[in-house]
Structure formats: structure tokens, C-alpha cells
Symmetry: D2
Subunit: 457 residues, 4 copies
């Protein structure tokens, strides 16, 4: 097959090189966007009289036919045609003859691939945003359901203070909310049309970039053709957002794994979302959560991959940029599948609310409430903290819980302690009284649910 740029060459491309430089094996997934972009471009060429109306229509007809062929699996992608652009243009020319050769007027693969990638990432980013929203809703529903469930809140993986399970789950809804906001911000910079930049310098032909932008639904037009063909910021931004997103998912996955251990026994995962062992018959493993946690590496790696590729590249387009696709595609797939599977698993999780409640009360988790009781009696917090520390140490030595201390035992640590201290040392009270904004009291948490509910819509 003759290359589209073969005019100046004396030797044929080596087969090794064809195989080494081809991208059709992975960029074929851009076909829908490549054709969509080409149709808009052809319309504009016709409207501007750069090619005739008839030629324009003929090209569009041919492109639509190719789209149908690909959709129905009747199209064969060929490695020696290098990439998705050439595979489609070649098919077009076979279909409609030399007129097909007019499609690439006032266009280069440099701006074309940037266009395809932006169209693709625009669609996938929206899809991911919507998957995040779904997961948020599922979490919000779960949080609403477990509004009365107490559990230990942890810092340093040590039980710290009792909190509501709701409150804990909402923390992830907050993270996901930021993930969505970040993706929306990035969308602004994805949603800009590079087409019309041509190779790097623009064109002498009277193109109408605004018209193409309108046809394709772009919000902005790239304003510097040299920058436009060499810019992959939008892709790195996307990868960086994805890295933060999967970091959040890895934290949730870690907790699901922890909570599924026999030691925690906070949850039981649905059979349909766990797997067994090929050797140990009794095992029920949280594979889904483990894989999500493990896939964090993949997404981080993809981010670093593109950052590395872009480092130190002189302007404008360099072939190195072809290496943007695999990390982007892999990240899109990974993130979507993690969100989907988590969302599918969540409703089936059985929360062991009794066990959660029981453990919420262990480990002197209301010590801070005792300290705040002392503060209300006028003791400086530092001193109050110290006194409470001594009470805790006393309890540990004597294997007692706070409620098992007599008022006289309490008073030995500080005479200001009064009987109403018993209304602060039970976990239910501890939670109920954390009414500060963002805090764990049922009222505060209900407000959080309402706010997030309205943000998720």
C-alpha cells in the first residue's frame, strides 16, 4: 500500500517500522470521533467553497457508510495503513474515488488526532462524571439507611471517637464530589477545538473554524496553531484527576477489605462480588476491592507515563505524542470499570451494625468528651487532656470502662467533675452532642445528606 506521504521517498517503509510505528491496533477505538470530525470538516469545506458542495456531500455519504460498516463489524483495520485516520481515508477513497483525497484539505493528522482525542475524552469524561454521580447516589442511599448506626471513628487506625456510619460513608461522597468538580474543570479545557491548526502554522485556505466548532459542540477554539498541535495538557489533567479518583477508591477498597476481615467483621460482602480459593475451600475473598486497590498502580503509572513522554519535547508536534493514547485508554477503562463494579457491589453489602456499635464503645473512645466536660468546668484544655489521660491509664490498669468508675473515683482525678459526666461517656451521647458544622451528630449529618443530595440531583 502506498503511503500518503510517499512522494518524496525512494525506499519503501521497512515492515519492522510499519509494525513499530502503527497505532491502528489501539487508536481504532477513536473511529467514531474521527468520522464525526471528518464529517464536520467536509461540511465546512463545502460551505466555504474550498471543495464543491457535491464533493462535500459525496464525502459525507461515504464517511457515514464507513461508520455503519465499522459499527456492524464489517470493516477491517489494516496495520500498513498506520492509524485510524489513514484507514478511514483510504476506505473513503476506495469507496468514492479520488474525491476522497479532498477530505484532507486544510487539515493535518497533527490537528486531526488532537481533535479525535478531545472528542473522545469529552465523551468519556462526561460518562465518568455520570458514573461518579451514580456511585455518590448509592453511597448517599446507604448513608441515609444507616443514619442510626454507630461505629468507631479511626485515626491512625486506632479507634478514636464514635461516629455515625453515615458520616463515614459521606466522607467518600465528598471526595467523589471533588472528583466530579475537577473533571468538570478539566472539561472546560478539553472542550476546545484544535482543528484548523493544520500541521502547525494554519492554512492559506479560507476555512471557518467557528463553524466546525459549532457543528461539533465545542465551547472554545484553540488560539495558537503551534500550541494546539503539541498540547496534551488536557490529557494529563484528565489522568491526574483519574489518579486522585482512584486514590479515593483505593481508600474505600482498603476499608472494605479491612471491614471484611474476621477481625473487624463490620461487613459481609455479597457472594456475587467475592471469589473463592482454588485450594482453601473455606475462603471468601474481597477480590473486587483488592483489584481496585491494585489498579491504583496502573492509573498512577499512566499519569507518570504521559508526563514523562512530554518532558523536554521541543515544539511543535513530535511523534512521541502518539504515546498518549495507551495510557489514556487504559485509564478510562480502568476507572469506569472500578466505578461500575463498586456501584454494583455496594447495595449488596451487609453491614454488621451490632458489631459496629459494640466496638464503637470500646477503647475509651469518649475520652475527648470527658476532656471537653472538664473544659466546660473551666479547666484549660491541655490540663483537661492530661487529667483524662490519667483516667484512661487508671481504667486500663484496673480493666474498667468509664461507666464503671464511681463518681468518687472520677473526682480523685479532678474535683470539678460532676455527676452529669455520666451523660457524656456513652457513645450515643458522644455522637449526639457533636453538633458542630460537619460533625458527626445525627442533625449535622442530616444536613450533609441534604446538601449532597441537592448537589448530586
Amino acid at each position: 500500500m502506498k503511503k500518503p506521504w510517499a512522494g518524496r521517498f525512494r525506499e519503501k517503509t521497512s515492515k519492522i517500522v510499519e509494525h513499530f510505528t502503527e497505532s491502528i491496533s489501539f487508536d481504532n477505538r477513536l473511529w467514531r470521533y474521527d468520522i464525526e470530525g471528518s464529517i464536520a470538516h467536509a461540511k465546512m469545506l463545502g460551505k466555504q467553497g474550498i471543495i464543491t458542495k457535491e464533493d462535500s456531500e459525496e464525502i459525507i455519504r461515504g464517511l457515514k457508510e464507513i461508520a455503519r460498516e465499522i459499527e456492524t463489524g464489517r470493516f477491517r483495520f489494516k496495520e500498513d495503513l498506520e492509524d485510524i485516520h489513514m484507514n478511514i481515508e483510504n476506505a473513503l477513497t476506495k469507496k468514492i474515488g479520488p474525491i476522497g483525497g479532498k477530505l484532507h484539505t486544510a487539515r493535518s493528522r497533527n490537528d486531526q488526532v488532537a481533535l479525535d482525542l478531545r472528542l473522545y475524552l469529552r465523551a468519556e469524561t462526561k460518562e465518568i462524571i455520570s458514573l461518579i454521580k451514580k456511585l455518590q447516589k448509592t453511597l448517599l442511599n446507604t448513608a441515609t439507611k444507616y443514619l442510626n448506626t454507630l461505629m468507631p471513628g479511626y485515626t491512625h487506625m486506632q479507634r478514636a471517637q464514635p461516629v455515625l456510619l453515615s458520616h463515614h460513608l459521606l466522607a467518600y461522597v465528598e471526595m467523589l464530589q471533588r472528583d466530579r468538580e475537577r473533571l468538570e474543570d478539566t472539561l472546560k479545557r478539553i472542550n476546545i477545538i484544535p482543528l484548523g491548526s493544520c500541521a502547525l502554522a494554519g492554512t492559506t485556505l479560507p476555512i471557518d473554524r467557528g463553524y466546525v466548532a459549532k457543528l461539533l459542540g465545542f465551547k472554545g477554539i484553540s488560539e495558537n496553531s503551534i500550541d494546539a498541535v503539541s498540547d496534551r495538557d488536557f490529557a494529563i489533567e484528565f489522568l491526574s484527576n483519574a489518579a486522585i479518583l482512584i486514590m479515593h477508591l483505593s481508600r474505600f477498597a482498603e476499608e472494605l477489605i479491612l471491614w471484611s476481615t474476621e477481625e473487624f467483621r463490620f461487613i459481609e460482602l455479597p457472594d456475587a462480588f467475592t471469589t473463592g480459593s482454588s485450594i482453601m475451600p473455606q475462603k471468601k475473598n474481597p477480590d473486587v476491592a483488592e483489584l481496585i486497590r491494585g489498579k491504583t498502580g496502573r492509573v498512577y503509572g499512566n499519569l507518570l507515563s504521559l508526563l514523562t513522554t512530554m518532558k523536554g519535547l521541543p515544539l511543535s508536534y513530535n511523534r512521541d505524542l502518539q504515546e498518549d493514547k495507551v495510557p489514556i485508554f487504559d485509564t478510562v477503562d480502568t476507572v469506569k470499570s472500578c466505578l461500575t463494579v463498586l456501584n454494583g457491589m455496594l447495595p449488596g453489602i451487609k453491614f454488621n451494625t451490632e458489631r459496629m456499635f459494640e466496638t464503637a464503645g470500646e477503647g475509651y473512645s469518649t475520652a475527648t468528651d470527658i476532656a471537653e466536660h472538664l473544659v466546660r468546668k473551666g479547666i484549660p484544655f491541655r490540663k483537661a487532656h492530661e487529667i483524662t489521660g490519667e483516667i484512661v491509664l487508671y481504667c486500663i490498669k484496673n480493666r474498667k470502662q468509664f461507666r464503671e468508675l464511681s463518681i468518687n473515683e472520677f473526682k480523685k482525678f479532678s474535683p470539678v467533675i460532676t455527676k452529669d459526666i455520666y451523660s457524656y461517656i456513652e457513645v450515643e451521647d458522644s455522637v449526639k452532642t457533636k453538633t458542630s458544622r460537619g460533625g458527626t451528630s445525627p442533625d449535622a449529618v442530616k444536613k450533609q445528606i441534604r446538601r449532597l443530595g441537592s448537589l448530586i440531583g
Copy 2:
């Protein structure tokens, strides 16, 4: 020195551990923000009657005195006091007595350090935005100055088409514009107050978070206390923005290095911004640009560092989070110094405009213009491209430039070629006619300068 949390402990902290866990050696740079936050917190405690007005004022007086001591270098940070928070609180109590112990009421180091970091990053992000703006201005001035300078535009590091030096420089202004926008977007998520989340669950004391937010100029209030103490998204976002920014600078640095070679000779760097060799007396090295390019590694590494630290952490606060500081501080320092030094160097660069013009015309860089000439004659672009390729090959074989071909030689390749082709093959004409939006024609570039000028202000 007794630890603030020593009440419950029977053994003293090991010296190795003190040294291993301390952060004062690097977090002391947060002192200004720690005191600023504490003053606002103390005001609120007084206003809400959680402590007395007098105590509140006494605390604020003490804190201000400490601030003056640090500012004037009279303060000694101590490792056994762990971190900036305890160093300051300890000094406060020494200064004003047990009342100092009231400052930490309704506050934990978990929300305090998150506050300090956000205050710090808010200030530094604004500073970096302003340094970017400065560099944009300098580049814009240079672009305005060299509006008539032609140079070769490159793809694949091969001369592709002639462009304006202005146009090329403006590509960097565009990149920096996106860098600024990204930082502004991140600022929205930095500018949220976490204080009042306490350890993780909120507090039973009647705090007023909105008041503290107002005092400290925050735009938002964290709505989930568990999330607030374990969230470092804003820091990762910042690091990711910094990574993209330094990637841009690395590309510019690479070009400065290339252009300074004897082979390119496009620019001469100012003596004051280059260094020599300890062994080769004739050398003049672009060290500044090399170091900027080299420091890309550092910023990428810092991004990965925090991402790795956050991977798989269960909620809420874990001590791992202390590892956020060094990568953030190092990134802030690196990015600021790179922007500053580039901005200082730029005005002293001597552009060798003659050499640029001369090379712009070599290498058949107007071949695309010939192809577009053929398109205007009705030849499909693909065919036009092929014909031009043959012309180029002919020229190479016969060591001729386009202008040296007679009209008959031209016509041998295609009879449709007419004499006006000679008005397209000179680089000046090539540039002048690239009038498409974002293109390299002087008119298009002037529009870009105007638009960027108004964005930079």
C-alpha cells in the same frame, strides 16, 4: 519535655523516635500560618464564650509576640516539641502561663495542620500565579518585539513550515495561561477551611466555624469532619498543576538549549545567565535552562510521592499524611525559582534574527503552500501532496530551491501550475497567507497578542 499527650503513657518517647517523627525541621516554615490560624481560633473561642474574652485577648497578645520573635530570628525551634504547632503552643504557655493551654480547645492537630497547609498553599499558589503572569508579560513583550521575525516552524524537529518567532513564543504564553487557569481552579478547592473538624468527629463545644472562615478569608467550609482531616486532594492537585507547569518550562528550556547550540545559533544567552567550564575555557553553558529541564524530575517525583503516600489509606487521619509537606515545600520552591530565573533571563536573550530567517527558507518549507496552490486549481489534496512530494524529490536530486525551478519545470509535475506559484514559495508570502484563526500570519498573530494581552492584564 513532657508531651502534650503524655497522660496515658508509662514510658518516655525514645530519642530515635523523637528524631524520626519530628516535623519541626521542615514545618517551621508554616509558622506564620499557624499563628494566623490560632489567632482567629482564639478570637472565635472568646466570642463564643468557650473561653473568656480576657483569656482570648491574652492568648492573641502572646501569639503576636511569638510571631515577632520568629520574624526577627529570636525564636528557637526545638525538635523534642515535635512540630510547629507544639513549638508555638509551648512558647505561648511559657509566656502567658496555663491560659495558653486553652488555645487548643475544640481543635486537634489534625484539623490545625490541614488549616496551616491550606493557608500556606493559598498564599503560594497566588504567588506562583503572579510569577506566571510576569513571565507571560515578558514573553508577550518579546513576541511583540519580534513580530517580523521569521523562523522555521518544526515538527518532529524537522523544519516544517516558516512561522513567526512571535507565534512560536506565544505558544508558551498559551500554555502558561492554562497553567494559571488550572491553579485558579485548584484555588477554589484549597480555599476551604477545615478548622472545626477537630480530631475527626467535630466537637461538643459551641464553636462558630463561619466566623473563623471569615476572619481568615476562606470562601468555603469543609462539610464533613472525617473527610476534612484526611483530605489532601488540594495538595495533589497543586502538585499536578506544578508538574504540568514545569513540563512546559522543560520544553521551553529544551528549546533554549537547542537554540544556543552552535548548530542552531538562533539565540545567544546573556553572560550573566550562563556559566563556564572548570576545564574547557571556551565553554559558555546554558546551565539555567539545563537545570530547569533537570528539575522536572523533582516535581514529577513530588507528585508521585504524595499520590503514593495517599494510596490505600483508611480513614481518617493517619500519620502518613505528615509526608505531604516535604514534596509540597520543595515543589513550591522549585517552581518559583524556575519562573523567576527564566523571567530574569528572557529579556537578555539575543535573537539571531538573520540566522532564523535564513534557515526558515531552507528545507523546502513552503511545500505545503505549493500543495495548497494545486488544491486551489481543483486537484484533490492527496494528489496535490503527492505531486509536491515529487517536486521536492526533484529539487533534492538537482540541488535546487523551489524558486530556481522554471515554470516549465513546474508544469512537468502538473500542467495546472501557473506563474502565480512564485508568489507562494517565498517564506514571507507563506507566512503572510496563513491567515486562518490561530495561524502564523502577522494579522492572526497580532490578534493573539491582543487577546493574551487582555487576559494577562
Copy 3:
């Protein structure tokens, strides 16, 4: 299809989960090693009487048949069978009946997959070592051919001192030599059999691990079963070696790109290893070198990916480990293709030795030789360096080359300079006299060629 571990489960695995957790779509490439390992395992089970000789032979016969089916493309891998191990075991049981169920005796997928991966990486590492060797040979041949070609040696991308092209190329042979040594070192740690560790604790059955090791050609036996199933050090080591290797290739690629520019014109790449432009007919692009440089990101990303996945995993096997495969496979493919294509391209490169020689003499590249001349006259090197610096500055101002200075002009800078200085300032002399070990003189370079030749064999 019933899962091999389904005994204890009440619900069927969700389809989403099957798709999310499957690895057969990528681990099918391990089939050869999986079967090889299973055959050795079955032999041992028979020899030890854990299963009967007849069963053992039947199993082996079945496995060999499956191998032939896969080899000839007649085998269909199924996603609902999860992975390569279950696909093959399932096919075995279909083929030979319930006896197939005896193969997995005293084995778990945990040690089985570790075995497969080690067998795979052992083979691929050896293959890569041999590809490196080939590239070294090609470079060595080129170096031998261009033993008389002078070129500028660069530091800071500035011409520093004249060197032999040979010498420069040999630097890459040295790097590749270290790459080989590193891979050999890693091979020691790859070449250890984990099979027999079972799930994590070993087995109660009387297996003979030494026998299996011998059958499979392993040099060592893993000595702790808990470690053996959770260890991926060997894979990370491999990825790290690959990262350094591709870093070397990226440096070479960068030089090929630079040298191909019209500005350097040091080399011309073979047509068969370059590509053209879809819009600019005159272009000839060093795509192969650009892609190698770009793929550096991919390999770095893969390394980081696995490191991230392994971070903080408790013992022993966790499903996260499944994420080791994609980065390993992708790295193997990338590195092999880069080595192959470079090796293919190298012999076709045309070195423009005239241009190299000519530029070697520009830029006062023998200034250090003047300084060393002064040293031989007893002047301290620092002073000699300073004097030479002044000579260079004088030459630049007066647009002269060293050879154009009269002896009196020289003496103005230092009276100790004698006429024999003229025998040091020509590039040929400069190179010839750098006879220190490892230096650029033809004699020193010949020694390097001989040494490397014997190392490469």
C-alpha cells in the same frame, strides 16, 4: 460454568465481577509456561506416589494435547474461566475426565502464577539480553567502521572537545553492557522456583520440590512459602532494569533526532526507517527514534505501577498482585521492539563524516589542549585555564581561529607559550593525544573496542 471454588458459595458470581476480575484476556500469553509447569508438577506427583503413575501420564498427555491446540490456534479461551490456569485445567478435565482434577493437588494458584511469571520472565529476560547483545554488536561494527571520524564531543550540548565518533558510539555499548549485567543479576533472583509453596503454608503431602526445580531448570528453590507467594521483587527488578535500558535508548534516540536535523546534519536516516507527513510533502521524520523516546514514559509508568501496587500490602498473597501482569507484558513488548527496530535501523544510517569533522574544529574546541600546554610549561592549571579563556575571548572578538593567531599574539597572553603549541590546536592532534585510559585517542578507543568485543563475544 461452575467455579472451582464454588462449594462454599450460595450466589453465583456477578457477570460484572467476572469481567472485572478475569485475567485470561491478558494472561493467556502465559499458556506455554503454565503447561510446562503443570507437566513438571504432574511428573513429580506421579514419582512421589501422590497420584498414580497412570494418572500422571494421562494428565501429561492431556496437557500436551492442549498445548498443541493452543499453538495451532484451535483453543478458545473463556472469560468465565477467569485465568489461564483455570482455562487449561478445565480443558484438561473435559479431555481426560475427573483425573484432570488431580493436577491441582499440592498446588495453589498462588504458587502456580508465581511459577508461570518466573518462567515467562526468565525466557524473556534471556531474549532481551540477546537483543541487547545484537545491538551492541551492531554498534561495535559501526564504531569499528568510523574509527577515523572526528566529531565534536558535547557537554551542555555545547561543543566541548573533539572526539572520535567511535568513542561516542562506544559509550552506548558501555551502557548496554551494564544493562546486560543488571539483567543477568536479576536473572539469579528470577530463576528460583516458588512451586510447592501452595497457598502460603506448604502442604502435608510428600512433594519433591527439588525434582520439579530440576525438571524446569531452576537454579534455586524459594525457602519460605509465605514469602514465595507474595514476592514480586523479581518483577520490579526487571521493570527497573528495563527503565534504565529504555532511558539509555531514549538518549540515543534523542541524539539520532538531533543529528538528523538540518541544523546538525550529522546523519541521514534510511528512508525505510522514517516516515513522511500527511500535509507537508518535503518532510522526512525520524519517527522511529521519536517513538523510542516517547515510549520511555510507558516503561517508567509500568515500573511505578507495580511499585505502587505493592506498597503497603500485608502478607501474603493479595489479589492486587494480579495487576503485575499488564505492566510486565507491556514492558517486555516495548523493550524488545525498541531494541529490534534500532538494531534494524542502525546499519542504514549514513554518517555525514565531513560535516562532523568540520564542526569538530569549530568553537575553539581545543582550548583545553592549550591549557594543558601551559600546564606542561609549569603554569598552575587554574592560571592556565584563565589565560586560555582570555585567548578565546580575544579570538571571538577578532573572529579568528586559534591557528590564525601568530606566535606573538599567543605570547601576549603568556610568554611561556612556545611554537609547538601549533601541534596541539588542530582537532586531529587534540584527539590523537588524549591517550589516557578510556580517552578518545584512536589507540585508547581501539583498546575499548577489543575489550567490548571480547565481552560481547
Copy 4:
């Protein structure tokens, strides 16, 4: 202060540039190696008659005096002297006059800094190897002490099979053993002298590189001067080894954190190695382990940092290489402190052996032993696995342990089950019978201890 290379320059270096390019603020820690290298170099210059014996001795005397000044804190490093090399050379010349200017004969900072870095890394690598050894010994002692302690062995963080605590701890000794081996391998490539490569091309002066190598205890001599000044493989290798090492430590840290939770209660950390909370008086936090886990990010980041810096650098020395130091220094410090603090903490850990034993028996952890019992009765493993799965499910439904099943209940699942099954379902028996090599039986573990003991020495 006049720069050593100022001869050719007309303008003074900008202050911003001095600050931007200086490395003395961090490379001063190389002083010992810089002086050690210079003394050896000066000895050689004297021996070879390149400078006089007297000058050589004078230089060495001066250098030794400077060493004493630095050691005793009387030396002031100056930023405007750029780096450690110039700070010392400058001090030397101040001390002994112009003779000091002879030290830099036949040497460049390019080979000098490579020398210093190799000397530094050689010493630190040996130090780290010895710290690893210490930690191995401590672990080995602990393993020996707890040879009779049973605990649950985990896969997927689910209890899988009972194992010996010893066996589990030895898994880390194995990892550390590989870490040591890797560092030893890298040491071979660190321990090569680059000095004598000069700027990049060698020298015309009659140096004796072998003599310097012998004086400094190097095992090899770099054989290509161009490679020698631009090679940082040894540093990347070191960083990569460190990344794997801290990954291991992060896994151990994760387990210490898990085991310290109230949910696991497997260990109690010594007070001296934990810290408390500034707000919650009852807390005792595993900060040391958390920080080790968190610092993984830092070391991974450092590895990526240097890899990024090296990507695509043309030969030979580029100033980018200066960025190698900070990641190396930070990694050395981090890894050493983590090893030290872990080693300090380990002997103080209280293992809750009762709790471990108790949990080892829960969760049907001997199910695999039942399956192997069935295998011994001739049932194919797959079938045996399935039957055991059904037994487990039956036990879960009826809330029974294996030992609570009557022989008739057992036989309902398979008639081949015989009474001796009761001698396999207790955890002690399960462990005792895992006698396969590397397995968890006391005998197998004792062999592991002996082997590791002899390796550690």
C-alpha cells in the same frame, strides 16, 4: 568572587543565577569524599611528575587541614563558590597560594563529581547493608523466640491457614536478604572509578588511573570517558533498590499497624515507640510504622525523579545531572532512619500469643487439610476441594467448628472420610504436618532459621 571559568566572560553572573545554580547548600555533605578524592589525585599527579612532589605534598597538607576545619565546624561554605569542589579548591588556594591551582590538573568537575558521588554511595550502601543485616538479626531472634506461636496465615487479608509466627517473620528476613543481595550487586557497578575521564575526552597528560583507583579502593576503572561523565546508572540502581526495600518495610509497617488495632490485638507496641493524640487522651498511635509506610512515597518519588531527569539527555555531561543529588541524599537518609527505628522498636513489641493462637483456629482455617485428607483417600483434589467447601458451608449454617462435627456428619459429605480426620483439623496438627520445604512446620521453619542465620552471619 571571580569564577574559575570567568576568563571568557564579559558580564558577571547574575545573583539570581548564582542562587539558582548553586549546589553547595546540599552537596557540602560530600566534602569528605571530595577531599579524599583530591588527595589521591594529587598523590598521582606528584608520582607521575605532572606536578612536582613538593607541590603534591603541599596540596595534600592543605587539603587535610581543610578536612580538619570542616570536621570541627570551623569551615564556612559559600554560595557564590557554587559547589563543594570550588569551595574546597578556593580554600586550598587561600591556604597554600597559587600551587592550589595545580590540583585541578587533568581533572574536570564532570569526573570529580561522579567520583564524589560514587565514593559517597559506596560508603552509604555498605552502611545500609549493615543496617539491613542488623534488622535481619533482630527479626531472626524474634522468630527464634516465637517458634511455638501459632497465628492465622492470611491471603486476601482473610484467615487462610494457621502458620507459625516465626514463619511469618522469616518472610521479611527473606525479603531483606534479597535487598542485601541487590545492593551488593549494585555495589559492583558503583565501585568503579570515573576520575581521569576529565571533561569527557580524557587528557593529554600522562595520568595513572590505576594508581588512583588503588588508593581509593576501587574495584574497576571506567573504560569510556564520554560514558563515565554522563552515567548515573549506579545511582538509579541504588534508588530502585531502595524503593524495593522501603516497599518491604511498608508491608511490615502495614502489618504492625493492623496488628496494633483493637480489632487484631496481635501486638502491643512499646510506649517509647508510639505517640499520643493532642486531643484524644486515650490514644496510642503507631506513628513510627505509619511514617515508614508514608515515606514509601518519598523514595518512589526520588526514583522517578532521577529517571525523569535522565530521560532523553544527549551525551555527555549536562547540568541536569546536578539534580541527582537531592533524591539520592534524601533516599539514603530516609532508608537509614527507617531501618534504624524499626530495629529499635522490634525488641520492645509484645506479641499477644494467646490471641494469635485463638484466632488461628477460627474461620475453618484447616479446611485445606481436610481436602488433603480426601486426596489421600484417592479423591481428585478438585472434588476434594468441592466436598470440603460443602462441609464449610454446612458448618457456617449450623454455627459449628470442624471438631464439633460427628464422624457421621462428616461421612454424609464423603463416605471415604475416616476417624483419623480429627487428627488433621486442629491447628497444631495442621501446622506440624506442613513439612514441605519452605513450609510452616516447626521442623521446616527451624531449617529456614539455620539457613538465614548462616547467611546473616
